[in-house]
Subunit: 212 residues, 2 copies
């Protein structure tokens, strides 16, 4: 992702403490209070500029969405979209996913979305991939026993790696698509990257992996 | 596959009763006797004209290969290749894979190869796909507890279906390649179809699925 420093971004974010949560450790086990309802919570790790989570939040008003994004200079754009659209079912964490288990407890998150995650092509960096088993183990600690991880990417190596990693972690692979935009899967909400890559004719791949 | 009736094929095949086994039920549990050694047995279901199995038999002289092909008019070509090359580690069954469990017993086959199997595109025919769970259950009954199924195809729908079916059957998915001919997997022996499709620029996909 191309990142530009945005002066004032952090100050702007701090004006919306109920939209971008500064101290997520304090909310662990009580996220539903933030939304004032008991709807299921879906999280997206690596929310970027927020096209996906905002699109999903509009399509599924009875789901609570939490977007996690470590880069302040992009999460600000996602935040502005939520403010503009006046959405009440999205909040953000400007945090690294490494510490996920400090923020959520078991059964608190029903689904994890991973979209166009960093492919980390070098072998010695594979453990940083969000579908590496070290991360899947973190997801298992916050999902229910039949929780799901939905993953899409345009990166062939990352997708091959992810299917294997999910299989190794004993997840059930469902609704695999090796060419999402030419499949019959409906209601696909695109990320900003997905739109760009897809316009270049790049194939998008997707899988739903379910705990069992 | 384009099939032409070959007059005399059956008569020619019958001249080599130790190469194309006419009554495989009688050999169940004793296939190693046919090869006069105790080397592991790998089978290919849908051997076609035999390029794969002949190539593999040359590359791995310490593996015994059994090619299963229901069409007499193509298995004859595979047979002639084995005769010409004087290979002693290949035999054939001119049979339908439906009855696999009448021919082999548990632990008798170490690996199953499925190459460019019929995609059976209509939903009501999916149960005929060689990676349908009904077939995987048959393979489990002849493989050891850590046996493997190696599958390759150029058909996207069939590959998506197969990954899901293998996952559902709790197999461990390994060495997935979504573009085999542009991957770093070595010693790939091509089938006659693979050569043709690949020359047309078609991507070949492959997976090794291991029992666990």
């Amino acid at each position: 992702m191309r990142l530009r420093n945005k002066p004032g971004a952090m100050n702007r974010i701090k004006q919306f403490p109920n939209l971008v949560i500064q101290n997520p450790e304090a909310e662990k086990g009580n996220w539903n209070n933030k939304f004032n309802n008991n709807n299921p919570i879906h999280i997206e790790i690596g929310t970027g500029r927020g096209d996906f989570i905002v699109g999903m939040a509009k399509l599924y008003p009875n789901i609570n969405f939490i977007g996690i994004e470590k880069y302040t200079s992009v999460i600000i754009d996602a935040m502005e979209k939520v403010i503009e659209d006046n959405l009440e079912n999205v909040i953000f964490l400007n945090k690294d996913a490494q510490k996920l288990n400090d923020y959520f407890e078991k059964n608190e998150v029903e689904r994890v979305y991973l979209n166009f995650s960093d492919p980390w092509p070098k072998f010695r960096h594979h453990k940083r991939r969000l579908t590496h088993k070290a991360f899947i183990d973190r997801y298992k600690l916050i999902l229910p026993d039949d929780g799901e991880i939905h993953f899409k990417t345009d990166n062939v190596s990352l997708f091959e790696f992810s299917l294997q990693s999910m299989s190794e972690e004993n997840l059930l692979l469902q609704n695999i698509s090796l060419d999402l935009h030419n499949s019959d899967i409906k209601d696909n909400v695109m990320t900003e990257y997905e739109r760009k890559f897809s316009e270049k004719g790049q194939r998008i791949m997707r899988v739903e992996a379910k705990l069992r």
